[in-house]
Amino acid sequence: MSEHILDLKNISKSFSGVEVLHEVSFGLRPGEVHALLGENGAGKSTLVKVITGVHQPDKGEIHLNDAPVHFSDARESRRAGIAAIYQELTLFPDLDVAENIFVGRQPLTFGGRVDWRKLYAEAGKLLNSLGVKLDLKQKARTLSIAEQQMVEIARAFSINARILIMDEPTSSLTLNEVADLFRLVRRLRADGTAIIFISHRLEELFELADRVTVLRDGSYVGTRLMKDITRDDLIRMMVGRTITNLFPKQDVRAGDVVLRVEHLTRAGSFHDVNFDLRRGEILGLAGLVGAGRTNVARAIFGVEPATGGRIQVEGREVAITSPQQAIELGLAYVPEDRQLHGLIPSMPITPNISLPILHQYARIGWLQDKSERKSAYDAARQMEVRANNIWQLARELSGGNQQKVVLAKWLSTNPRILILDEPTRGIDVGTKAAVHGLMSKLAAEGMAILMISSELPEILGMSDRVIVMREGLVTGEFSRAEATQEKIISAATQNVTIGSAQ
């Protein structure tokens, strides 16, 4: 008898000839939180999908309670008590909270009719036992990301999962929500559930995980007890080398004001936002998800124009009503959702990079392929995009390389004001440091950068100045010297009672 509830033995998996997993072994004990760590492309997601039966391994065995198992789809693994919460959430936006929990397994009456009363009663009971307060009849479409995650967890719970896999559950959560989530995970662990937890935030893993298994380039590197390992060791295991400085911020003397925002308002999103952004400055915009930070960025960039207030760019008052106009004024916006707003995943790298300035490569609308290709190539090279060639499809790149393409695209517009919305979300440690290094360099060259981030270390490590938003209002402003974790959290959450429903 092994102590493991789940044992993967020498799993290999290839996709169209490329080996994504090579002889990976992995053991999971009941009642532990086992972190799965590795850079993007290390094979974590594939491993998870092998466990849940979405993919089948080419070689190797899976043992559940010491018996070999073979899952041909997600249905079978669920029946065996394995539940997964994927990075991309899998709720049904048009169904309500209660039905989302029981979708496909709605309780039935004797006559085989869906028993709605029982469904709502059980959903309510379940959410209560998890300590989550949600309106059962609210459609999933209107839930915040954190709330959606709670519904996913409730769903996993409702099938009495003995193994729960969480793939980057915290990447879009705010600190409080993360705390809520962790409380829940600890309770599950205490009940004997085995949890596989994937995250790029090392701090979290030290806080939560018992053991950690590291993958690199599809191969197994090692498994350690969390309490026996240091942060630097973990990074070395992940990337195979040492990264010394994650936040390489240079000190730059801020120049003239290039972007001034006064009383900026968009009904329903944010109200009376004021700030200045100077040349060579990185201004951090902190706050909870949904505090209106992204809406401010979108308003400045003209995607969802403001309904009130003023914007001055380089001293000139402007009314920005479209991204086109913003780009002409020297603004660039790297959005938080790469797949949806940042990139065209199904197109190659080149047209992705050239899209905002395509007209520059054209004479009266007629495209000049050569100059386009040359510029795209230069931009991609400068960003050290790792790809076979510049005609590779963007969706074939790893998350970090995709973000580099997005950055290359916006930097080739030669912006004077750069807005970065969660610039390192879901990016591996190596690329993260590269992005931070780039930000520092750009600021040193005189670019003005507005950085929205939910990661406090990033905010504290990179910003010259920090402003904090809460519920559509600016609730705090701190210089680099003043800013501390406590001050920012307090400004982001003041007067919000945690633990009570609306």
Binding site: Q324, H341, S346, Y377, E384, N389, G430, G437
Partner: protein, 375 residues
Amino acid sequence: MKAGAITESKSASLISEYAPRRSFLSKFQRWEWMLVGLILLDVLINTRLSPFFLDARNLSRTSSDFMEIGLMMLPMVFIIITGNIDLSVASNMGMSASFMGLLHNMGVNIWAAALAGLLIGTLGGLLNGYLVARVRLPALVVTLGTYAFFRGIAYGFLGDQAARGYPAAFTYFGQGKVFGTLVPFSVALFIVLAVIFGLVLHRTTFGRYLYAIGNNENATLYSGVPVARIKLIIYTLSGFMAALAGLILAARFGSTRPDIGTGLELSVITAVVLGGVDINGGKGTMLGATLSLFLIGLMRFGMGLLNIQGQVQGIVIGFLLILSILLPGVAQQISSSRNIGIYPKSVLISLGVLAIFIAFFLFFFWSRAPVIAGG
């Protein structure tokens, strides 16, 4: 510290500028070769079956038969590449031609009437564009509404009347040949326009924007592309081309009835999709669509020579449309699941389904037999 001064752990392959660019385009080119092959095959079979097939006069006449579809197809390629659709083109065609016919019946000069027809068609396209791009209604819903609306206006204009007696100078556009050749005017017009539309699609920023919108509209918008304006333009263009096609069809018939061109929207969409344009947007070429237009035209012509009714020809075209999407997918499935065994259950199900279809066709022919005997 310099940007990106971290060496990658993997062999940091330097990105290449001149790479197998083919990987991006080859898929479509393969499909176009396929269409060329099908056209040749069709010609081969038909020349065997009918001595009249390879007759220049016949071919010239038949090619003008599907040029109206071709003219509406050109902007439809744009629209479908952006991931939208226009179901109203044939109705718009009817509205424009009927308006011209109405004015002609009222004694207005034919050229002024034709111009008015083009104008009303363009306005119809503008209405579609406005509702899709600015009001942001789903294209399918909007053009379904205008499908009824435009056709209704056509009936309103002409009622149960027909407009006739167009002057020869006008009917030239539908019936005439380019000076000194056998090439019908409409064919020449189509080819010129197809080249222009193709160049716009594949060689200009506008064309690139269409692909970008079809692949990811949001990201395109965020990149500063005036998405709404582009949609407005292509729908307006579609309206204009539908009107132009309507005038040419009216000129070819020498008369206009309000039901002119009914149902052609499906032929147009069939040609576009069979040409390899992805109905979900983002992929496809003008060459492919044009080739498929000629393939369909030649097939229909060949079947017509064999006295197969137009509607029955639809069976073949329908199967061709489905198979064009089905076969590549099935081939891929078979090649990717080579090592998956055959399950007894799936065999049983397949046999059951097969039995159902056999039973259906046995019944189909059995129940029909007396008619044949009697007729």
